[in-house]
């Protein structure tokens, strides 16, 4: 198989492309120009819909389909919210995009806004991303100066404003309705649905929320066509009528106990093992892997024996994980205590639960207390069944909670216990200090 040429990351090491001149010299904004001249908004939507592009923010919802949920013939305003909150631990694909190639993201934003007839696009960016925020703002300023944002973009009928909004520094600000509340200046308390944002979102107007990577893909899809996009990745499973396929390339983040942590763009469907061995340089210090998180904390764990799963939208589900998530792989080596790893994750969710829903607010804190006690050496066997049960029931959607955080908080707990039960039992019996690498903290990239 010929080596894959990166598309989204093709300007990764070309800092000159961060400027408008550099980006245009590389062929940038030609797609936008053509779309504004030759295509109607609905045509852009159709191209995106037919490409099979699914959201890169975690849920994998078909992008074009989402756009068609907007009310037809709405008098406006309609908003686009770009979800660059990116607070999922070990996830930094958007960070690379906005720091290294801001104009690609902006071209995607303008194209998507045109397709959905948005008049304003809010770029909601994680508070901690100072450098990326400044880069984006500079790029936006350049566009305004060049008449490519604001009134009559590139001489067309279409006008759009892009506003950068620095996030409120919480994981929950990335949940789409939490983001909208936060954008409106309130606490990021996710909203109950319905109404969905496409009907009533930011400032009570129809709103589409998309991830920057999703929008960057839109540029290449409109440029090269849906067929090109579909030539990459994994087609739908014919045996699963609900599978919409995993087309295109994906930015995979690799972190944890690997020799070469970082980011790599590959067609969807690379196996976890290949990602680790070929692109992540293998496990560090000559050790073996014990397991990994396939796509951000909320997805649960897989064991080393499960590393042959393809990292597409369906793969992780085959080994009892929630899904692909953000495709950020975190590997931990054989000396790591699973109790430590789980403790770290439970701390994260208990800290980040917004606190609205009873099951999530209390459940995340309770699970943390139990795991903390186990870690101290005061665990009991029944704690494992309580943990499993709480994790199973904490966030059944829809139903027990308003947003998906609670569900995500349950997966690492239940998968850890199911897949590493023997290690937990040994730990319970022998206490800290006897199991593998006592007290060692899993180093996580991407903050938190």
């Amino acid at each position: 198989m010929a080596a894959f040429e990166p598309v989204l990351l093709r300007r990764l090491n070309r800092p000159e492309c961060k400027t408008l001149t550099g980006y245009r010299a590389d062929g940038g904004y030609r797609t936008l120009e053509r779309a504004l001249k030759e295509m109607s908004p609905d045509q852009v939507t159709t191209v995106v819909k037919d490409s099979g592009l699914r959201g890169r923010g975690g849920a994998g919802f078909p992008t074009g389909l989402k756009w068609t949920f907007l009310p037809k013939g709405h008098p406006g305003p309609i908003y686009l919210c770009v979800n660059c909150d990116e607070s999922e631990p070990c996830t930094f694909n958007n960070r690379y995009l906005i720091e290294c190639d801001p104009h690609q993201v902006l071209e995607g934003i303008i194209l998507a806004s045109y397709a959905i007839r948005a008049t304003t696009a809010y770029f909601y960016v994680r508070y901690e991303y100072g450098s990326g925020t400044r880069t984006m703002q500079r790029a936006i300023d350049e566009l305004y100066a060049a008449g490519m944002l604001g009134k009559n973009i590139l001489g067309s009928e279409y006008s759009l404003d892009v506003v950068v909004h620095r996030g409120a520094a919480a994981y929950i600000c990335g949940e789409e309705t939490g983001l909208i509340e936060s954008l409106e200046g309130k606490r990021a308390w996710p909203r109950i649905k319905p109404p969905f944002p496409a009907i009533e979102g930011a400032f009570r107007k129809p709103t589409i929320v998309n991830n920057p990577e999703t929008l960057a893909n839109v540029v290449n899809i409109v440029e090269r066509g849906g067929e090109w996009f579909k030539s990459l990745g994994v087609p739908p499973d014919p045996k699963n009528p609900r599978d919409a396929g995993s087309f295109g390339s994906k930015l995979y983040c690799i972190s944890g106990h690997v020799n070469k942590p970082g980011i790599v763009e590959l067609p969807m469907g690379v196996t976890l093992r290949e990602l680790l061995e070929v692109h992540g340089g293998g496990v560090w210090k000559g050790r073996k892997a014990k397991g990994a998180i396939p796509g951000g904390n909320s997805m649960g764990f897989c064991t080393e024996a499960e590393f042959d799963i393809p990292l597409d939208f369906n793969g992780p589900g085959k080994v009892g994980c929630l899904g692909l998530g953000t495709a950020a792989v975190t590997v931990f080596d054989e000396t790591t205590s699973i109790v430590d790893v789980l403790h770290n994750l439970c701390r994260f969710f208990a800290h980040e639960s917004c606190g609205q829903c009873t099951p999530c607010r209390e459940g995340t804190a309770w699970m943390l207390k139990i795991v903390e006690r186990i870690k101290r050496g005061q665990g009991r066997l029944e704690d494992l069944s309580i943990l499993e049960e709480v994790a199973d029931k904490i966030g059944i959607m829809p139903g027990t909670t308003i947003c998906g955080l609670a569900d995500g908080a349950g997966w690492p707990v239940k998968t850890a216990i199911r897949k590493f039960r023997d290690e937990f039992k040994t730990y319970l019996r022998e206490g800290p200090g006897k199991g593998p690498s006592p007290g060692m903290r899993l180093q996580m990239a991407g903050g938190h």
Partner: protein, 557 residues
């Protein structure tokens, strides 16, 4: 017409738009709920109301099939329509209810023995009805510090809070003052205020009623009574002409608190702090409790019947000399029934005895809520504290208008008294001192009146001048009818006996009339309705839970 099936029982809900909690209530089934409240926005966050929901369909052949949704859903957020099936007591719902309660109790201090809410706490009630007996948490509970001064009238027991956010929504949506908010995330979330901006608005104590648990407590009521010792009677607030429906909670004839009683016709769910706290005078030991007769030989305490006898004799004598120089003054807070009896007595004396309305306090302008962020009233009004601080001015006026063409008010009376045109008078001034306190000049106006009888709750410039002092009864001691600003006639019930040795105002008037028997509000209403057309709606004698409108008593638009 829509039919909903709750635990297999069909209920017809007409064309109302209801959620599952409301629809189930119609079927007599309680879906436990905390965050949902009819007067507040829906947040569906407590997840206490999880139920199974489905749809019942009948096909062409008449076959009935029910399809249930696979997962439980929040009943408060789920609207019902024709054919909706709700199951609240099957395994799935029960499991969800138990889980939510277990979660809520994880960090709950369970200090019911010292909690004001115990006995009327929804956490107790639901735990008993829907929960499990034991907690599986062996770890330590969190113990956030209390905030006893979160509000002027309200304190917060932080650890008891279940984060339903009702209080926060109340201050945002109803009072509009937005003092309360949530700080911190997750299990560390707490209700709080900004430094230097305590919960302090004229509706603030409503959050105590809204709080399903004992987290928010009224400083006024705190630690004064166990609620199961309280006896509750339906009342009507005497604070202003809104006439909020209330519960008057008392124990052994001492009133301990007032709470709003839901009445869509009067005020809705809430009441103002001033009205709520306007009961303290009832228990005040300084209240007059003796009938006094003042003569040349000084002042004597007498039996109530003797006091009535003296009044009858003096007023009668004056009326037979010149009835136009005899005045009877009616308090705007007396009941319709009392006004009726007193007016009847006046007419028994003579058709020419003057009937005057007592002082009606008007303070400022109507105060409406919510307020906007700058404290200005918003267009859509949810609550009004009225400027007119009299609970029954319309009812009393309605009675007086029947007996006398001229409308005489308190100023007319005082003028006549000062001008030496009054020979004898009976002034019924039973208003709470917080609302009306007679001034010195009013007492002075009576200097030249030959005979003065005053009915008062406390010693005042009027009782100083009185030849007969009649202790007046408080709102909690009388049955009767009050008519609010909109002409709504509501019944209030006595919750306490009159002070020992005294009789209620109405009973005293019966004595003046030399009528036998006891005051019976229902019978008197029938009597009044027969005679005065404006009170026709009272004819059944029973005003129901919410009261009846007397259109003719409404202020002209």
């Amino acid at each position: 017409m829509a039919t909903v099936y709750v635990n297999d029982k069909a209920v017809d809900i007409g064309d109302e738009r209801l959620n599952c909690v409301q629809a189930a209530e119609r079927a007599g089934v309680t879906i436990p709920h905390y965050c949902w409240h009819a007067a507040l926005s829906v947040v569906a966050s407590c997840r206490m109301c999880l139920v199974e929901v489905g749809e019942r369909k009948v096909d062409e052949k008449g076959e009935v099939s029910t399809v249930m949704q696979p997962k439980v859903v929040p009943g408060c957020q789920t609207p019902v329509k024709d054919g909706t099936v709700i199951r609240t007591a099957d395994a799935k719902s029960k499991d969800a209810q138990q889980r939510t309660l277990e979660s809520l109790l994880l960090n709950h201090p369970l200090d019911c023995p010292v909690c004001d809410k115990a006995g009327e706490c929804l956490l107790q009630d639901y735990s008993f009805q829907f929960g499990k007996a034991e907690s599986r948490m062996v770890d330590e509970k969190k113990t956030p510090p209390n905030k006893p001064d979160i509000g002027t009238h309200v304190g917060l027991f932080t650890d008891r809070c279940i984060m339903c956010s009702r209080c926060v929504r109340f201050t945002r949506e109803v009072s509009g003052t937005a003092e309360l908010h949530v700080v911190n995330r997750g299990t560390h979330a707490e209700i709080d205020v900004f430094e230097g901006h305590p919960l302090d608005n004229k509706l603030s104590l409503n959050v105590v009623d809204l709080c399903p648990v004992g987290a928010l407590a009224s400083k006024d009521f705190l630690y004064s009574q166990r609620v199961w010792n309280l006896k509750s009677a339906n009342g009507v607030c005497g604070g202003c002409s809104t006439g909020c429906s209330t519960h008057v909670d008392s124990n052994k004839d001492i009133v301990y608190r007032l709470r709003p009683r839901f009445n869509p016709r009067a005020q809705g769910h809430f009441m103002c702090d001033e009205g709520r706290l306007g009961y303290h005078h009832v228990n005040d030991p300084a209240r007059l409790r003796q009938y006094l007769v003042r003569g040349e030989n000084g002042t004597r305490a007498v039996e109530w019947s003797e006091a009535a006898g003296v009044c009858r004799e003096k007023l009668g004598a004056a009326a037979s000399r010149d009835p136009g120089r005899v005045w009877i003054v009616f308090s705007p807070s007396m009941t319709v029934e009392e006004a009726w009896l007193l007016a009847n007595y006046a007419r028994q004396l003579s058709p020419f005895v003057k009937l005057a309305m007592g002082p009606v306090t008007v303070s400022g302008a109507d105060d409406t809520y919510p307020k906007d962020r700058k404290g200005r009233p918003e267009a859509k009004v949810k609550f009004t504290i009225r400027a007119e601080k009299a609970s029954n001015a319309r009812g009393v006026r309605g009675v007086l208008a029947h007996f006398q063409k001229d409308r005489l008010d308190y100023q007319h009376f005082l003028q006549a008294a000062r001008g030496g045109q009054v020979d004898a008078c009976l002034i019924s001034q039973g208003q709470s001192p917080a609302i009306y306190k007679p001034g010195v000049e009013e007492g002075d106006a009576l200097a030249s009146v030959g005979f003065v009888a005053v009915q008062e709750m406390f010693a005042s410039s009027l009782t100083d001048r009185a030849h007969v002092v009649i202790p007046a009864s408080a709102f909690s001691e009388v049955d009767g009818t009050l008519v609010n600003h909109a002409g709504l006639a509501q019944a209030k019930r006595a919750s306490c006996a009159p002070w020992r040795g005294t009789r209620t105002d109405g009973q005293f008037y019966l004595e003046l009339l030399e009528r036998k028997g006891l005051v019976h509000a229902g019978n008197l209403r029938k009597e009044i309705a027969k005679v005065i057309p404006a009170f026709k709606p009272l004819e059944s004698g029973d005003l129901g839970e919410y009261g009846v409108y007397c259109e003719k008593l409404k202020d002209p638009a």
